[in-house]
């Protein structure tokens, strides 16, 4: 009998990194020690804790990482609470990959890319940023704007500082909401900062973060002359099956699990406002 | 409709809720007095019998318990003054309701056991276990999924 799409396989947590007070990054491999499955940047996977439940997470690691998968997870519910209390060696159930990826090959290739993230919104972007870095020659300039509430809420700061900031033809801008001791970078909200930096409207933009941030950043980008058809974002809704059957993650006639989570802003415009 | 038959050698599983101040101490006294009662009685310590939510009783039956007994201080002796009076009403109504649904009445019981009544504790448990044993397995309220795969 064929195993159904809804039936997960077993993954092993091989590393847990505490990024911020409420975000941890989990490294997961299959029971054979290999990556559980292949994926594309922006896709998601269902992680489940038996007896607690399942939840969808974007895969944070780049597909170019051949050894393992990573998930940056914010503690905010039943499943994430338990995940956060787990230790290395713990097995979990995993299935995927789900959803539409960022069009890294089709649309992004050869373009200058602007990545804007807020808080845990960096998680899905990390996958695509590292993918682009891996195939650096295929892409133009990279600008990354990343903001969080405080410097302690910036996820993956080590990687940002040690790798991204050193990447060729790459600019990284960091900002935090309120001034804080020990922080010498920019202080202010992401939307304002983006306008301040003065990004080039011919770039292809990818936004990810809390809804308010997306709303105002998008406004800012449009004012700067960006076209909606070249701005991408990801949506997050309640999902159960991941394969467009359980009926809960739809926005209009699109399922976030199947037709998303990556959407172009002009596509979203066509959909009813219910996300 | 499931046939209820008492299997040969059936040993019921009994959940006993005991209030911390009287009945749990009564059970302790039964222990220190070496007054035996069947090993299938397992005690859950609650501060007062009034902490026992009917949902706990139902949960026990759902999970396959064959009998549920709640023990508290004698009326008037409640450590929390009035707790067991509420227990008495709650359980009276619950037990009668379960009876109405056709659940055997001997599967549920409320007893008052003081800290001094180790002998009573033991006697009550022996009697309760005997009655539940006579009834056989709890099939009416148990969720078959629980024992799935056993």
């Amino acid at each position: 009998m064929n195993f159904d799409a809804l039936i997960p396989k077993i993954g092993v947590i091989t590393d847990i990194r505490k990024d911020t007070h409420d975000v941890k990054t989990f490294r997961v491999v299959g029971t054979d020690g290999k990556k559980p499955f292949e994926h594309l940047p922006g896709q998601c996977a269902m992680l489940s804790v038996p007896g607690v439940g399942e939840a969808m997470f974007s895969i944070t690691s780049s597909p170019t990482n051949r050894e393992y998968m990573e998930f940056s997870i914010k503690k905010c519910g039943c499943v994430t609470d338990v995940l956060h209390s787990m230790e290395v060696g713990q097995q979990i159930a995993i299935r995927g990959p789900y959803g539409r990826n960022f069009p890294v090959e089709e649309e992004f290739k050869g373009k200058d890319l602007l990545f804007i993230a807020g808080g845990i919104g960096l998680a899905p972007l990390r996958s695509v940023i590292n993918y682009v870095r891996h195939y650096r020659a295929n892409y133009g300039k990279i600008v990354i704007v990343y903001g969080a509430r405080s410097k302690d809420d910036l996820v993956d700061i080590d990687e940002i500082k040690n790798e991204w900031m050193k990447e060729v033809n790459t600019e990284v801008y960091l900002t935090i909401d309120r001034a804080q001791e020990g922080w010498e970078g920019n202080v202010g909200f992401v939307p304002a900062y983006v306008k301040e930096i003065g990004v080039d409207p011919s770039m292809t933009a990818v936004l990810c973060g809390p809804p308010v941030m997306i709303k105002f950043t998008l406004q800012g980008l449009l004012e700067l002359g960006f076209e909606k058809s070249r701005v991408y974002t990801t949506l997050e809704l309640r999902m159960k099956c991941g394969v467009g059957k359980c009926g809960r993650c739809n926005v209009g006639d699109k399922f976030v699990c199947k037709d998303g989570p990556v959407f172009r802003m002009d596509e979203l415009d066509e959909l009813p406002d219910e996300y | 409709m499931q046939e209820i038959t008492t299997k040969e050698g059936f040993v019921p599983n009994i959940v006993a809720f005991c209030c911390n101040w009287c009945s749990y101490a009564g059970a302790d006294l039964a222990g220190s007095s070496r007054l035996s009662y069947p090993a299938n009685v397992k005690i859950i310590r609650v501060p007062c019998s009034c902490r026992v939510n009917p949902m706990f009783v139902l949960k026990a039956f759902q999970r396959g318990a064959d009998g549920v007994i709640i023990c508290g201080c004698h009326p008037g002796d409640c450590h929390y003054v009035t707790g067991n009076y509420y227990t008495r009403r709650r359980m009276a109504m619950l037990f009668s309701f379960l009876d109405y649904l056709g659940i055997e009445r001997d599967r549920t019981r409320l007893e008052w056991v003081s800290a001094a009544e180790g002998a009573k504790f033991s006697a009550v448990m022996n009697d309760f276990v005997a009655k539940v044993t006579a009834l056989g397995e709890n099939k009416k309220l148990s969720d078959l999924r629980v024992k799935e795969g056993e």
Binding site: T80, E87, Q90, Q91, G247, D253, E274 | R145, E148
Partner: protein, 342 residues
């Protein structure tokens, strides 16, 4: 075409049940629902609408999917599906419900195929039953369904003293063959007479003139933003009665249940009318009952057709019309937002 005396139906059921399961409208505690037939059960083919639709024949209300076994830090996934592929006959399915199977198929058999659904679906032979006494809440004709000649592997008609029987395809013929000894060949006159009589009634039904033309993809946003949703949904209690009696509703939830020896992961029907349907740890995309109400009908009349080549996810069975505690229903939505043909 074949026929069998109504008085011999029990023998027919028994013959079917010999080689396969038989799922048929059975009266139990005053209500008629599809259930597994057994000797002594009261079959009620005359019942126009079973409370639940027959969809639970292959999309049961709860279904165990798998089991986890855990020990220490390790987790094991155990396949608990039985290899039982015994054929099943679903008997007495009305035209609307047959159509609903197609609606469900498009969801569950789309890639990635839902193998739980598929294995059951494949094992089923559908014996449909034509309607001869439609009632006021029926509006299948609005969806182009002919209740006097339902689809299915076999179509049957109840008329006079007989049940008339016609196989529509190979699967149907295979079943007919097995039952050959009980069936007698006959002409189609009685059936045709009944059909034309029923069609007359259908024209006079109060909902015969529902107009669905406005419910299409290009009006999606307009319909979504219609202010009348507020009024339409104001009495909605947020229960799932409409959902659970609906033959096309397919939303499900996946849940875990702790057993003594592990964790069973099961799925069960869910309702988009429930307040926690889209609840996440950090928010809910549909916080009001109006949004949930709108979702249900937009899905049936606009979203689903948009995804499935114009096929509506409503078959006009009228169950929700009869069963809504507060008399809200899709008909009121269609009338209010779509109107009626003149």
């Amino acid at each position: 075409m074949y026929r069998i005396k109504k008085t011999d139906l029990n023998a027919l059921y028994a013959a079917i049940a010999k080689t396969s399961g038989l799922f048929i409208p059975i009266r139990r505690a005053d209500e008629v629902n599809f259930a597994v037939w057994g000797e002594g059960k009261e079959v009620s083919l005359e019942t126009l609408k079973t409370v639940k639709s027959p969809k639970n024949a292959f999309f049961p209300q709860t279904e165990n999917m798998m089991k986890f076994k855990t020990e220490g830090k390790s987790v094991e996934v155990v396949d608990i599906r039985t290899e039982d592929k015994r054929p099943f006959v679903v008997f007495g399915v009305k035209a609307c419900d047959v159509k609903a199977f197609e609606v469900l198929d498009r969801v569950f058999l789309a890639e990635p195929v839902d193998t739980f659904y598929q294995s059951r679906r494949n094992a089923i032979t559908v014996v449909s039953l034509a309607c001869s006494r439609p009632e006021e809440s029926c509006f299948c004709t609005a969806f182009g369904i002919d209740p006097t000649a339902p689809e299915g592997d076999v179509t049957t008609w109840l008329d006079g003293e007989y049940l008339y029987w016609r196989a529509n395809n190979q699967k149907g013929e295979a079943l007919t063959e097995k039952l050959a000894s009980l069936l007698e060949k006959c002409g189609e006159e009685a059936v045709e007479a009944q059909r034309s009589q029923t069609k007359e009634i259908l024209k006079r039904l109060p909902l015969a003139a529902l107009d669905l033309s406005r419910f299409k993809e290009e009006n999606l946003n307009e319909l979504f933003n219609d202010p009348r949703w507020a009024e339409l949904s104001e009495a909605c209690l947020g229960c799932g009665a409409c959902t659970f009696v609906c033959p096309t509703c397919q939303c499900f939830d996946i849940r875990d249940f702790k057993t003594n020896s592990g964790v069973i992961r099961y799925r069960c029907w869910d309702s988009c009318m429930y307040s926690d349907f889209t609840l996440m740890a950090h928010g809910n995309s549909r916080t009001t009952q109006m949004q949930r109400y709108r979702q249900r009908f937009m899905h049936k009349l606009v979203y689903y057709p948009a995804q499935n080549g114009g096929l509506y996810s409503c078959v006009g069975c009228g169950r929700c019309v009869n069963k809504c505690p507060q008399n809200l229903n899709i008909v009121k939505v269609i009338k209010t937002l779509g109107g009626e043909k003149s």
